[in-house]
Symmetry: C2
Subunit: 223 residues, 2 copies
């Protein structure tokens, strides 16, 4: 069986979990915190990052969430997530990269650093200036999601795709850490409620990261 090395608040692991679940690929989860990972994890991934997917029978290791999603896209027919024409697939990959790189750098990574890593590793309080900047940038990204959902059925076009899961994965981590304020973002909010109520999302919302409680609304699919 496939094994996924992850931790609950890693947005790239969430993206992979959502894709595997949508595609019906059964897998086991192994918890690993990159900042305290041992030699065994570095032997699997010299870059020391999550997610990693491992198949013991085939001795196959897959690294990097996008490489992992492309692999399952190529090998599992069920629920295509990078679908359509070549131009349509390029649009899915553009948006996936936008959320993986820019939403992550602007919003998710600073929130993870200030509210997760400082708490668990450095035992320091968060810097409120950094949190304000992340939340301001979150509004800009949500504006863009408003625009996308106002003009398209799903983020990348007429079909549900990996772009929706990549965006929802980042947002769900930011939301867990108290960084998402939906006011003024009705379209994006409706889209996110739909994402949240998919069966693939349930296990993620039920999971807690030790020592860091999520806000009350986090797992409520109507909130």
């Amino acid at each position: 069986m496939w094994q996924l090395y992850h931790f609950p608040l890693c947005p790239f692991s969430r993206k992979v979990r959502l894709a595997l679940s949508e595609k019906g690929v059964t897998h086991e989860l192994t918890l690993v915190y990159p900042w305290q990972a041992g030699d065994a994890f570095f032997a699997l991934n010299p870059a020391g990052r999550t997610p990693v997917v491992y198949q013991p029978e085939k001795k196959l290791t897959l690294i990097d969430s996008q490489a992992i999603c492309e692999y399952f896209e190529e090998t599992v027919d069920k629920s295509p997530l990078i679908l359509g024409t070549a131009a349509g697939r390029a649009e899915i990959r553009r948006l996936t990269a936008l959320f993986d790189e820019q939403f992550f750098a602007d919003v998710t990574a600073p929130l993870m650093f200030e509210k997760m890593k400082k708490r668990l590793v450095y035992r320091q309080p968060p810097d409120s200036q950094a949190l304000r900047t992340a939340m301001r940038l979150a509004h800009e990204h949500l504006d863009y999601i408003d625009w996308l959902t106002d003009t398209r059925r799903w983020l990348a076009g007429a079909q549900l795709s990996l772009a929706d899961f990549a965006a929802a994965a980042q947002i769900s981590v930011a939301d867990y850490l108290g960084g998402i304020d939906w006011s003024g973002h009705d379209s994006a909010h409706s889209w996110y409620r739909v994402m949240k109520s998919r069966p693939s999302f349930r296990p993620l919302l039920a999971e807690k990261m030790e020592g860091i409680p999520p806000p009350r609304h986090y797992a409520d699919v109507n909130a």
Copy 2:
């Protein structure tokens, strides 16, 4: 004809130029500096980043170097760069992401900031501590390339692939900015000499960025 919006020291634009050239896709270059781009460029790419590929006849815009490379991989048969089995392609994409993200973050981006952006935009001298850190991290990445080239014919396996071009694109920008020291990295150095002498590489090596002269050895395929 395809148009590529780029600037000479953008490593992701270099990766795309190498891929297009290897695949025989003719294209025109349009120079754009993201930090002083106008509305026309932001209309093309709201994220304001290079590279962007545009096809005026089809009104097709492609954004993100990996999405661009995947598009041409899917639509042009010549010289496959993401090739082999699904597992082999996952390895190519893992390494491509490693160079695009980690080599870039550790080495290319700090060098670009200290030696290009501070010179052209902020009119400040580089910070020597930041340069030393980038060069130390470059050695770690070159150690990994030594290991790959000692155990494989090309970076991702038996075949030349996008991983080689992604790595060479990052290294060539770092080398232009004086950040690469090959001492102790004979295997990586031989591999890079082979990459440098490919016809697809020549136009890149001949190009200069205004106000920033490359070191003497930079364009010498034997150095």
